[in-house]
Structures are given as structure tokens and as C-alpha cells.
């Protein structure tokens, strides 16, 4: 079931962005804490570029914490200001293109998922019983969600580099879904280089490359084949249904090979850009070190900034370890339970990272909400969707209000803003838990359908 008016809606979303960029004037979105973080702020990138032009290291001082590659790509665009337009109009145009590309790749990913879903349902003889309830084109939905998500629009217009980071994650997932090892490796290396946290996506990427896109659990196929063999199914069919499960080591090795090549390439480029003005060790210290040690305590939509502004100094190291480990703790349990659905696993990891990362922003949420659309069919029976939907709206309305009261009017205080951050983290927790729960429930339903 394809969506009517798909292309007009895509064009409208892109056009809306262009209108905002070209005619919106300076919306001051770049300084919103929800939009740009110390890592992604384009203003800081411009400062880094200026420092580099002054033959200082772009990382001297604590202004710039991004990648040297972005510096050389976007830096020249930030320095020439066109009169009347807001400062980073050229960069914003690039971001519009990047967003469009990301949406198209999400759509492509959705198609692959849809194909694999249909194939597996067919092999399970469940096409009728599942599809008559809901079968929408998930890729179209996901790409439209990504394009029309207000947060994605704000992120794109608000001159910060998160659209590029999101694109890299999407490239990685697309590449892995379509088994293009070099593309997946490129996306993985770039995403990790830009914001470190996508490093944990190595698990779903390898699973995707090894087993192929999402499918019902292996047990379902086994149950199916055993029931088929009872009912006297041909040997050939059994093998074809089991062939899906085999782990293809060649693709993974291919991926690892390309991973190595791309990381060498990125490091080489970085060191060439930073030549004479600083070294790679400084780059790692100022990018990854800055991410992991939460040095900047300026407010954002997460909770860690206030936590580390308030926590006693002698506990700081302990809590840094705890919070960073918290992301890693769930990697293995999730991977074990959801190994048959690597793409969904990637979505869950992205959501967890967006919730627990040290400098979260609306752009991270825009990414995982877009990916959520890919599983529209599987998650159709998710609970609390009403609460989540209005919770997200409420938080995104209240958070700027509280920030304004605290920072600009001086009538509120930090706790007001922190409270919205807490609520937001709660909502994300509910989203993650519910989506995982209903995906497991969906798999169980499939098994019941097969056995019955």
C-alpha cells in the first residue's frame, strides 16, 4: 500500500526548509540549546576555522570539538557572509540537501526491509493473516516522518552539523541492509568519527551483513519447518527457508577490510588537515575526550549537564564511568534478544544513544523517530502511543518556555528546565521499552500464528 502524493509531500518538505533557510531571516535557532550542542554548533565550527586560518590549532581553547573534515568542508562557507541573509546560509543549503539524501536512504532501507519481510512471511505462509491487518509502505512513511519531523526541520535550519551525523548513520544502515560492505563501512567510520557513539552500531551492522535484514526469529522457521516436515513438505523448501539463517562470513570480512581502509583514510585526511597546527592526539582528546568527560555544562535537553553541574567533585569520575557504561550495558542483552532483527536493533541503539549521550539534541531524536517509521507494520500494536505523542509535543513546547523563563527572564530557575529534561528522558525510556516490548510481542504473535 503505497502512500498517495508521496513525491509532492517530499517536495513540500524540502521546499519548506528552503523557504525557512532563504527567507526565514535569522531565527536564532543556532543558539537554542535544543538544537545545537557544543559538539555540533556551526558557530563554534566557524571559530575553529578562524583559529585555523590564524595558524593556531582549531582545537586550541575549548571552542571547537568537531571533526577536522567538517572544518575543511564547511569552514570556508562560514567565513563569507552574505549581507542580509543569516550568516550560515550556504551551510544550511547543504544541510537541506543532506536531509533529503538521508530521507531517500531511509526510504531505500524501508524497501529492503519490506522485501525481506514479505519474503519471510511468504516462506512462513503468513502473508494473508498478517497483511490483511496492516501493510503500509514503511520506507515511505519513515522518510516522510524524517522530512516532516519538526525537530528535523529545526535542526536543519538551525545551522548545526547533526544532519551530517544523521546522514552517516543512515548511510551505514542502508549500506548494511543492501549488503554494500564498502558503503556500510564508510558510514560507520564517518559516524563514529563525527560523534563516537555510533560505534556501538557495529553489532547491528555485522548482524545485518551476516544474516541480512530483519526477519522473524529463527525458532519460528524451525517450528515452521518441523510442522512442514510433519505435513510432508519437500526437502528443497526446508533448505530454502533455512538458508536465510546462515551467517555469511565473507561479507563481514569484506566489511572489516573496508572498515580498516576507511578509518586509515579518515585519519590520514585529518592528520593532513591538522598538519602544522596540531596533531591527532589533540584531536582525539578534544573530540572524544570532550564527549566522554562532559566538560561543558551548558544546558541541553538531556539530564547529564545538570547532574555534573551539581554532583560533588569527588564523585564525578565514578558517575562518568557509570553513565558511559550505561550505554554499553544494554548492548549485549539487546543484541542477544533481537539478533534476528538487526535493523530494529540499530534503531534501539540509536534511541538509547540519543537518550544517554552527553550532549543530546533534537537532531538525534529526529533520527531515531525517522527510523521508528521503518517498523510501522511490526509496531502497529505498540502501547502508550498517545502518551508518547503528546508527551513529545508537550516537552518540545515546554522546554523552550522553561529555558526562556530561566535564562532570559530570570524568573524561573534551572530546576524548571531540568524538569523538562527529566520528562523527556522518561518519555524516551518509555518509547524504547515499549517498542522493544511490542517487537518481542510481534515475534511471539508470528510464532503463535505459525504453530496454530
Amino acid at each position: 500500500m503505497a502512500i498517495r502524493y508521496y513525491w509532492p509531500m517530499v517536495a513540500a518538505a524540502v521546499g519548506f526548509r528552503l523557504v525557512l533557510v532563504l527567507f526565514g531571516g535569522d531565527l536564532h535557532l543556532a543558539s537554542r540549546p535544543e538544537v545545537s550542542t557544543p559538539l555540533t554548533s556551526l558557530r563554534r565550527l566557524a571559530e575553529g576555522y578562524w583559529l585555523k586560518q590564524a595558524s593556531l590549532s582549531p582545537y586550541s581553547g575549548s571552542m571547537y570539538h568537531g571533526s577536522p573534515l567538517l572544518l575543511s568542508v564547511l569552514g570556508p562557507l562560514t567565513s563569507n557572509r552574505s549581507g542580509g541573509k543569516h550568516a550560515h546560509v550556504y551551510c544550511s543549503l547543504i544541510f537541506v540537501a543532506v536531509d533529503f539524501l538521508a530521507a531517500m536512504l531511509i526510504r531505500g532501507t524501508g524497501r529492503r526491509l519490506q522485501m525481506s519481510r514479505n519474503r519471510s512471511l511468504k516462506s512462513l505462509d503468513l502473508t494473508k493473516s498478517v497483511n490483511n491487518s496492516a501493510n503500509v509502505s514503511a520506507g515511505d512513511i519513515a522518510s516522510l516522518i524524517y522530512l516532516w519531523n519538526p525537530w528535523a526541520i529545526v535542526t536543519c535550519v538551525g545551522s548545526c552539523t547533526s544532519p551530517i551525523e544523521n546522514l552517516m548513520v543512515v548511510i551505514m544502515i542502508y549500506g548494511a541492509c543492501s549488503r554494500l560492505a564498502p558503503l556500510a563501512a564508510f558510514g560507520y567510520v564517518m559516524a563514529t568519527h563525527l560523534s563516537l557513539y555510533p560505534a556501538i552500531l557495529i553489532v547491528p551492522v555485522i548482524l545485518l551483513l551476516g544474516y541480512g535484514p530483519d526477519a522473524p526469529p529463527t525458532k519460528v522457521f524451525l517450528v515452521k519447518s518441523s510442522s512442514d516436515s510433519k505435513s510432508g513438505m519437500s526437502e528443497y523448501d526446508k533448505r530454502s527457508s533455512l538458508k536465510v539463517q546462515r551467517f555469511s562470513w565473507m561479507t563481514v570480512l569484506h566489511f572489516i577490510f573496508w572498515l580498516f581502509i576507511w578509518s586509515c583514510y579518515v585519519l590520514l585526511l585529518s592528520s593532513m588537515i591538522l598538519k602544522k597546527v596540531g596533531g591527532l592526539s589533540e584531536m582525539f582528546e578534544k573530540t572524544y575526550g570532550f564527549i566522554l568527560t562532559v566538560k561543558d555544562l551548558s544546558p541541553n535537553i538531556g539530564v547529564l549537564w545538570y547532574f555534573f553541574a551539581e554532583v560533588f567533585d569527588f564523585f564525578r569520575t565514578f558517575f562518568l564511568i557509570v553513565f558511559n557504561m550505561n550505554i554499553l550495558f544494554m548492548v549485549l542483552p539487546l543484541a542477544i534478544r533481537l539478533k534476528h532483527r538487526p535493523c530494529f536493533l540499530a534503531f534501539v541503539y540509536t534511541a538509547i544513544v540519543a537518550m544517554l549521550k552527553s550532549y543530546p539534541s533534537a537532531g538525534d531524536s529526529a533520527l531515531y523517530l525517522g527510523l521508528l517509521g521503518l517498523f510501522a507494520n511490526e509496531l502497529a500494536e505498540m502501547q502508550f502511543t498517545f502518551l508518547l505523542f503528546f508527551g513529545y509535543i508537550g516537552v518540545s513546547l515546554l522546554s523552550p518556555v522553561m529555558h526562556n523563563l530561566w535564562i532570559w527572564r530570570g524568573t524561573g530557575n534551572a530546576n524548571f528546565y531540568f524538569a523538562t529534561g527529566l520528562a523527556y528522558t522518561c518519555l524516551q525510556t518509555v518509547l524504547v521499552v515499549e517498542s522493544v516490548g511490542s517487537m518481542i510481542k510481534h515475534d511471539r504473535k508470528l510464532r503463535l500464528l505459525v504453530t496454530s
Binding site: W50, K295, F307, L334, M355, T429, V433, V436
Partner: protein, 642 residues
């Protein structure tokens, strides 16, 4: 040198002491002896105030010649110099702000003695570059102990190493400023202890605390210069601007048509001077009369004597010194008095009495510089530095239109004010200029969080025809950890004064007939380029809730535990098995498994539908338990009462 009175000991010992003293005297005769001079300069100011500038110089010959013993020079200072290998050092404590418009911005007094509010310290070390930072930290601690001030706050995050903006050097200069530091007698007392007569005799005895701390501006400074060949020169100055209590009791603030207040030393300091400090080499008092007054006197055709048409000094001076500047800009005249002619019986008191109303103005600096903040809210803002021309260059250079004036800006910004240096914008007479047109040279040391303040050094070149210029820099306000806020966090944070110097303008004086004047360090010292400090800026920063740490820790950890627990629960849960388990538990008789099942929120009705007798049985059991509990409580209650 007074030998200690010999104790009632053997004659041999006395002789030995004498021998030693003779030897020391012989040594001392070979090298220049330690010297001490004291001077005071008084000057009427155009806005009916009076400036008094105390100047004490101690000199110690090169260290090798005298060893570790001093008889005039303060030992604490010589130890400091030797230990930290200081070649130059200046420490100033200032309260109030020098009024560059009224009190002058061009004359040597304002360029070398107008200091930014609070504490300013800079030092040049004679050490390898790698050791300087560590030495600076030790130095700040030593000085803070020596002067009872919190100079040790300069050790970590608020000092910088300017290369040419403050004073050109080879990287061995460190500069730091604490604008918040309050100055009071506790800083003055240790400063006075460095003088050989303290405040018991000589000019320092004028320093009556209630009157000097009543002033509009108070700056106490200590300057050290040291080298292997010259020895150590220690200059201690105290600059005070006071409002004289007029003799006739008139205190009118309008200076038009009103007589300037007449004052004398007794009125200013509540003290008279009873002779000099006995160990001082020279002890002099100067009364300086501004160029504005001198011009008026010259114009009226009368003689520039101590008793002229406009004013009369209470005592006849020992000498009159005229300053003939080449540039014809600054030419004041100075009346000199020698204190050594006065004594306890004949105390010295000099004053000025005005005869005619007189208005004049001091020579301003080439540009009047002020600095202010723009923007509102606690997230971001801009620093603006504005220059307004005083057209001084036209008086000096004539008015060619193609000339340009150089200005050097030196500014330190604390790390929590995160300046975007790429956002520098320059407006000249209201028109935006490209940065490269105006900025000749720029050197930036960006600030590093919790480590290093940002330093900006800029050499600008303004066209002579310019009337006003404005520089703006955007910044973001940082957010601090709660421990980093001072006790009164909502007051805001201070950005130290910026220093603007004009290297093409020299405020040196020359006195043509001052050959015998060589002994006056107060007058010879005036050889510096014109510079002025801007205002201190007060930046309000957002504060977190200081009472919240426990709440924040518990809330955040609860959320994380919620996430972790519920996600793990969702993963662990196997619904099919649970249903089987539930069936098992439902068939078991008992209250606790039932309650547990209810608590878990699972539907037990289906399981229980076939076993209603059991459910009534469990209700009876519940009844029994409650009954027994109530009985026990009642029994306990009554047994306690009886």
C-alpha cells in the same frame, strides 16, 4: 648603621663585633650604599579634588656585595627577588576608578599610576621559559601572604602570558588581574612595613587611615626592578584622590564661577609633617600646577611665582621647576619643598589658597576609551570597546588627513566568558569596516575551560580623521559547576579591565634645568607611552539551584534505573512461560503467591475461575490474619496502659 648595644659580655666579643662592623663599612664604601628617598606630590584637580602621590624608593646594591644583610632595604623583598629570579614586578591594589576625563589621561601621573580596580600583578622572570609558570604560582602565594590579599587566586585560571600587547617580552612575562579584590588597611600595613620608618616618621606619617580611605581613588603600588649589575630598586607609590574639606566650609560641586576649594596638607590628611624620615637620603614635597593653570597665568601676564594673581601657596618653595615639553602639550610647573628643613618643633604644612575662580582641564589621552556589554539574558552577549577621539593629535601633529594613529588593545577574558574571536566587527564612524583594514596585528590565546583565560592582543590603526570607533566581540556565557561560584553568585562575575595604549604618544616630561634634580625618582620616572585602562565589566551568569545536589542526583539516578530495569525486564520477559508459571501458582493454595501475582498486574481471574472455593478460603485466611493482628495491637495497647 646603629650597632646593637653590646651585651654585658667580654670585651673580646665587643671588639669582634666592632671589627665586623668596620669590615662591613669598608665593604659598603666600595659599592653604592643602600638608599631610601621619600617624596610627595600634590596637585589640584579640575573637579575640585586634590591628588596626592606618595613615592618611596628603596635601593639595594647588587646582591653579591652585601650578602644577605640589609639595613634599609626590606629583607622580604630581596629574598623574594632572589628566590624567584624576578627582573621586574609590579603589584597594585586599587579602589575606585581613575577618571580619565577630569583627572587627565596624557600626563605621566595618569599613564603610570592610574591602575585598574582591584589587584593587578605582572612580573618578568629571569628564568627558562619552562619554569616560569611554576615560579609564578609560587610567587602569587608568597605575595598573598606578604600583603594579606587573595593574590593566590591568580595562580590557576586567571593569568596569562601576553607577548606584545601589554609590554613586549620574550615570553617571560606573566600578567594577572583580580578586579573583585577589596583593598583596605590590611593591605596597607604590610606595604608600610617595607619602609624603613614605617609610618612613624617622615612623609609616610601623613598616611592617616580615615582620611586616605575616604578618597575617590586609592591606589597602592609596588614596583620592583632588579638586575645583576644594578641591584634592586623598589618603588612604592600610593596615589590618592581626595576631596579637600574647604577652609571656608563651602562645598560646591559646580566649578563655574566658584572658587576652587583651598586646601593644605593638614586639611587633606588631618596631619602635619614633623620632619623627614632620618634614614632617607632626600625627602621632598612637590606641588604641581597643571598646564591649564600655567597657561592662564601666562596669558594674564603675571609671573608664575608662588604668590600670583590666581593662587597663593602657604610657604615659599625652595625651588620652582618648569616642564618644557617639546610637544608643547604638557608643560606644568612644580614647586619643590625640602622637608629636611623642618622638624618636630617646626612642623611643615603646605597648602594652596585660591584667589580667583579658575576653570581648566587636563590634557586627555588621544582617544577616550570605554568598554561596555551589549545584549540581555544570561546566554550570550557582546563586549563592545568604543573609542572617541579627543582630537589631541591635531594639537600635536597638526591635522594631516592621511595619517593614522596606532592603538594597542590588551584584554584578558575569563574562561567562563567564551569569546568568539571570529565575530570581531569594527565600526568606524558608524560604518562597518573589514577587519583587515583596521587591524595590523592580532594575537589571540583562546580560553580553555577551567584552565586558561582568553587573551586578546590587537594592534589597530585608526585614520586621523576618525571621530569614533567601536569594536564588538560576541561571547557565550559559560555554565559553572556549583563549587566554582563565589558565595554571592548572583552578583555576577568581573571581566578585568582592558588596557589600551597608544605607542606613538609619549608622556615623558623633560626638565631642561633639572641637573641637580637627579635625586628625585618621582620626576625622573615618567617615561612611558600613553595608556589607559577601561572599566571593569560585570557579567551576570546563570546560577543553578545551589540547594539541589541531592535531589538532582537521586532524580537522575532514578530515571536511569527506571530505564535500565524496565528495558531489562522487557527483554527478559517470556510471556508464554509466565503464563505457564501463573497457571502453576494459581493452582497452589496460598495468599502470598496470589498477592504477588496481583502485584505483577497479571490477570488471575482466568486462572481462578475454576477454583472459586480456594479463593473464598484465602479470604478467610486474610480475615484471620487481620483479626489476629488487631487483637495483638489491642492487647499491646491495653497492657501498656495498665
Amino acid at each position: 648603621m646603629v650597632p646593637p648595644s653590646p651585651p654585658p659580655a667580654s670585651i673580646l666579643f665587643t671588639r669582634l663585633v666592632l671589627l665586623f662592623l668596620l669590615a662591613a663599612a669598608a665593604w659598603a664604601s666600595a659599592v653604592p650604599p643602600e638608599e631610601f628617598t621619600e617624596e610627595l606630590l600634590l596637585r589640584p584637580l579640575p573637579d575640585r579634588k586634590a591628588l596626592s602621590h606618595f613615592y618611596f624608593r628603596s635601593f639595594a646594591p647588587p646582591a653579591a656585595s652585601v650578602g644577605r644583610h640589609h639595613h634599609l632595604f626590606p629583607k622580604a623583598i630581596s629574598q623574594l627577588v632572589k628566590k624567584y629570579h624576578i627582573s621586574e614586578l609590579e603589584l597594585s591594589f586599587t579602589q575606585g576608578r581613575w577618571n580619565y576625563e577630569q583627572w587627565g589621561g596624557f600626563d605621566p601621573m595618569s599613564t603610570s599610576n592610574a591602575k585598574p580596580p582591584g589587584v593587578e600583578l605582572w612580573a618578568v622572570f629571569d628564568l627558562p621559559l619552562s619554569e616560569i609558570d611554576a615560579t609564578w604560582k609560587n610567587l602569587t602565594h608568597t605575595l598573598s601572604g606578604l600583603f594579606c590579599a587573595s593574590i593566590n587566586f591568580l595562580e590557576s585560571t586567571s593569568f596569562s602570558a601576553p607577548r606584545w600587547g601589554f609590554k613586549s617580552n620574550e615570553g617571560n612575562l606573566r600578567y594577572g588581574a583580580l578586579p573583585r579584590e577589596a583593598v583596605c588597611t590590611e593591605n596597607l600595613t604590610p606595604w608600610l612595613k617595607l619602609l624603613p620608618c614605617r609610618d612613624k616618621a617622615g612623609i609616610a606619617s601623613l598616611l592617616y587611615r580615615p582620611s586616605i580611605y575616604k578618597g575617590y581613588y586609592h591606589s597602592q603600588k609596588l614596583k620592583l626592578r632588579s638586575s645583576q649589575s644594578l641591584g634592586i630598586i623598589l618603588d612604592q607609590t600610593l596615589t590618592v584622590v581626595l576631596q579637600p574639606n574647604t577652609i571656608n566650609g563651602k562645598q560646591l560641586h559646580s566649578s563655574h564661577g566658584q572658587l576652587q576649594p583651598s586646601w593644605s596638607m593638614r586639611h587633606l590628611f588631618n596631619r602635619k609633617l614633623s620632619g623627614k624620615c632620618l634614614v632617607s637620603k632626600s625627602s621632598r614635597i612637590f606641588i604641581e600646577v597643571d598646564k591649564g593653570i600655567v597657561d592662564k597665568i601666562n596669558k594674564s601676564g603675571s609671573d608664575l611665582s608662588w604668590n600670583n594673581e590666581f593662587f597663593v601657596l602657604s610657604n615659599g618653595p625652595d625651588r620652582l621647576i618648569k616642564d618644557l615639553n617639546d610637544l608643547e602639550v604638557q608643560s606644568s610647573s612644580i614647586y619643590e619643598y625640602d622637608v629636611s628643613n623642618y622638624s618636630e618643633e617646626k612642623p611643615f604644612d603646605v597648602g594652596i589658597t585660591w584667589k580667583l575662580p579658575l576653570t581648566w582641564s587636563c590634557t586627555p589621552s588621544p582617544f577616550h576609551v570605554s568598554r561596555f556589554l551589549m545584549g540581555s539574558g544570561n546566554e550570550r552577549g557582546s563586549i563592545a570597546l568604543s573609542f572617541t577621539s579627543t582630537n589631541l593629535h591635531k594639537k600635536i601633529f597638526g591635522s594631516p588627513n592621511d595619517c593614522s594613529i596606532k592603538a594597542i588593545i590588551f584584554q584578558i577574558v575569563p574562561w567562563y566568558v567564551k569569546v568568539y574571536y571570529h565575530s570581531l566587527e569594527i565600526f568606524i564612524d558608524g560604518n562597518r569596516k573589514t577587519v583587515s583594514d583596521v587591524v595590523d596585528k592580532i594575537h589571540v590565546t583562546p580560553s580553555e575551560d577551567k584552565l586558561l583565560p582568553g587573551t586578546l592582543e590587537m594592534l589597530l590603526r585608526f585614520p586621523c580623521s576618525m571621530q569614533s570607533a567601536t569594536l564588538t566581540l560576541d561571547f557565550d556565557k559559560g555554565f559553572l559547576h556549583i563549587d566554582e561560584y563565589p558565595p554571592d553568585a548572583n552578583q555576577g562575575f568581573d571581566i578585568p579591565s582592558a588596557l589600551v595604549s597608544f605607542p606613538e604618544f609619549n608622556s615623558a616630561r623633560n626638565f631642561p634645568e633639572t641637573d641637580p634634580l637627579l635625586g628625585s625618582p618621582l620626576l625622573e620616572n615618567f617615561q612611558v607611552s600613553v595608556k589607559s585602562y577601561t572599566e571593569v565589566l560585570l557579567v551576570p551568569l546563570t546560577t543553578p539551584d545551589f540547594s539541589m545536589p541531592y535531589n538532582v542526583i537521586t532524580f537522575t539516578c532514578t530515571i536511569l534505573a527506571l530505564y535500565f530495569g524496565s528495558l531489562l525486564n522487557a527483554l527478559r520477559r517470556r510471556i508464554g512461560e509466565e503464563e505457564r508459571e501463573l497457571k502453576k501458582t494459581a493452582t497452589m493454595h496460598g495468599l502470598i503467591p496470589l498477592l504477588l501475582a496481583k502485584l505483577r498486574g497479571q490477570k488471575v481471574d482466568a486462572a481462578l475461575s475454576g477454583s472459586s472455593p480456594e479463593s473464598t478460603g484465602s479470604k478467610k485466611l486474610l480475615f484471620k490474619v487481620v483479626f489476629v493482628a488487631v487483637a495483638a495491637v489491642l492487647f499491646h495497647y491495653f497492657s501498656n496502659n495498665s
